[in-house]
């Protein structure tokens, strides 16, 4: 009677190899899903903060005053707020109308743009 144990062992090793390949694919997908969820959550948070910044600009009509309220620093005419995982850059633009203030508020993560809003406000007549 032939010994079938080596054959069974080979079958199990092949089964293990197939499992290893499937497990590698699954784990890769799990990691991607985890990273994607983190990115989505960060984008959501960044969007809310960008909206908050836009509202503060509309309320104060003065970026320097808005920077005092929300924090951050102004470098080369860009107001930068550093937050966990991302930054918010606010740049004042020329709307072409002296009574209309304009700025773009952008959430940036490692140089990549997450969200951008353009906000307009009524300038305070001196």
């Amino acid at each position: 009677m032939k010994n079938r144990a080596p054959l069974a062992l080979i079958e199990q090793v092949i089964m293990l190899l197939v499992l290893a390949v499937a497990a590698a694919v699954c784990l890769q997908i799990f990691l991607w899903a985890d990273r994607q969820a983190d990115t989505n959550s960060l984008t959501d948070t960044a969007l809310q903060q960008v909206q908050n910044t836009a509202q503060v600009l509309k309320s104060t009509a003065e970026p320097a005053l808005a920077a005092e309220l929300l924090g951050g620093q102004i470098e080369n005419e860009i107001w930068i707020q550093s937050l966990p995982g991302y930054e918010i850059h606010t740049v004042c633009l020329d709307s072409g109308n002296p009574l209309l203030g304009c700025a773009t508020v952008t959430a940036v993560q490692e140089g990549k743009q997450l969200v951008q809003l353009t906000v307009y406000w009524q300038e305070v007549v001196p």
């Binding site: 144990a5 293990l16 290893a20 909206q51």
Partner: protein, 158 residues
């Protein structure tokens, strides 16, 4: 005797391979479950935050007269009062947090209502409202996390 030994070794080897296979399956299942649990929890938290803040933003932006928005005491805490005139009668929508719930109460603008009379919207630990010039700041707290909303109210002066 030799045959018995080689047969035992083969059996042990087969069992070992089976054990490695089982551990591998278990490892993949457990990591999948962990990732799924994390995704679900994160999704639920994002949904709560987005819903709560968007609800407040929508209520503020849809107020018929922004000048009639105010923050007043209601029960044990502050509430956002949104007043409006309907057919020459004054009505008020109160948005507040009571007993772990975000609540809304729409009624005639008169005293005699209590926080329990409102409608429950969603679970929330606390809601704090502050005003700085024309800027309304609402800070909501749930499960130890604090989220902030800022809104420029057009009818409020500097």
């Amino acid at each position: 005797m030799r045959k018995l030994r080689s047969s035992s070794i083969a059996s042990v080897a087969a069992l070992l391979v089976l054990a490695v296979f089982s551990m591998g399956i278990l490892g993949v299942l457990l990591s999948g479950a962990r990732v799924y649990r994390g995704l679900t929890a994160q999704g639920a938290e994002d949904y709560d935050r987005r819903t709560c803040l968007q609800y407040l933003t929508t209520k503020l932006s849809q107020a018929p007269d922004p000048a009639m928005l105010s923050i007043e005491r209601f029960g044990a805490g502050d509430a956002l009062f949104i007043r409006q005139n309907i057919e020459n009668k004054s009505y008020v929508t109160r948005i507040y947090c009571h007993n772990g719930w975000l609540m809304e109460l729409f009624s005639v603008d008169s005293p005699g209502f209590s926080p329990e009379d409102g409608e429950k919207l969603m679970l929330l630990d606390s809601l704090s409202l502050t005003r700085c010039g024309s800027l309304l700041t609402a800070a909501v707290q749930k499960d130890g996390k604090v989220w902030q909303l800022q809104y420029a109210v057009g009818g409020w002066g500097q």
